[in-house]
């Protein structure tokens, strides 16, 4: 049983849901505390995140740098727009590959469900073309773009 779902919505959205057995407070912290983020937001085996800046406040900056230890690396930058501990985060982000990708506007909700959490991440891209490109190219890095459900595309 897969706990994760992902689907495209309309022309410009990608929606990911995932259930966790921990309460929203913990899942929210794991998304905003650099020491915790560095332990899981890594993508494929062998990659690490030596630099993790995450200023969890309105207007705060995000910067994640990944490396595979073999000379390959890339980074992501972003800014926080809204934070409602421990329920909701709104931020924008872009990958630098090394040219920046168009801004991805991301709303992440953490809803209590029993003793656990239902996380819903709703990404909004500027247009359908950007979404298609993100789904195709961003996924290479095993990061946010790995969300596509093929049925949504073909």
């Amino acid at each position: 049983m897969s706990k994760m779902t992902l689907k495209t919505e309309g022309d410009t959205h990608v929606v990911v849901t995932r259930r966790f057995s921990a309460p929203p407070e913990a899942v929210y912290s794991a998304h905003t505390d650099p020491k915790l983020i560095q332990q899981w937001l890594l993508g494929p085996e062998g990659w690490t995140m030596p630099v993790c800046i995450n200023e969890a406040k309105r207007g705060g900056k995000i910067r994640y740098e990944w490396t595979n230890g073999k000379g390959d690396g890339f980074h992501l930058t972003g800014e926080y727009l809204e934070l409602e501990p421990y329920n909701r985060i709104v931020h924008v982000e872009r990958l630098h590959l090394p040219d920046p990708t168009p801004d991805n506007h991301v709303e992440t909700r953490f809803d209590a469900e029993g003793t656990g959490t239902l996380m819903t991440m709703r990404m909004t891209l500027p247009d359908a073309q950007t979404r298609a490109a993100m789904l195709a190219t961003g996924m290479e890095r095993g990061m946010e773009a790995s969300y596509v459900r093929l049925e949504g595309m073909i």
């Binding site: 897969s2 995932r18 057995s21 095993g142 790995s146 596509v148 073909i154």
Partner: protein
């Protein structure tokens, strides 16, 4: 029909971000070289080169329509994309599996603190 797909050439064709973007575009429907070149901000010769690699790998097919040669995904191309995407989807699931472990450790520490 048995699509004979060389996985090696398919995967090396898929290893290029522009070619994956072309496939993603074709996943939305048939397109001419001009239509493909436009959103990618590439010259037609550059796009044609990528299309040749994709064709040789059996991922796309062309049709003749007057002077146009619209391309579409081959069945093998769809399957290869499917495989590629499920691989990447697994990478994302791996993130969340790791997060499960981080959360379990956090809960454990919390229990120990309140004990």
């Amino acid at each position: 029909m048995t699509p004979v797909l060389s996985l090696d050439s398919a995967f090396s064709a898929l290893a290029d971000p522009t070619r994956r973007a072309i496939l993603a575009r074709l996943a939305e429907g048939e397109a001419t070289v001009m239509e493909l070149a436009e959103p990618f901000e590439m010259t037609q010769p550059a796009i044609s080169q990528h299309l040749k690699v994709l064709e040789d790998a059996g991922l796309i097919v062309r049709r003749v329509e007057g002077t146009k040669r619209p391309r579409r995904l081959a069945k093998a191309g769809i399957q290869a994309m499917d495989q590629w995407l499920s691989m990447l989807r697994k990478a994302l699931e791996k993130n969340y599996d790791r997060l499960d472990k981080v959360l379990a450790t956090m809960q454990q520490h919390k229990k120990e603190e309140t004990r």
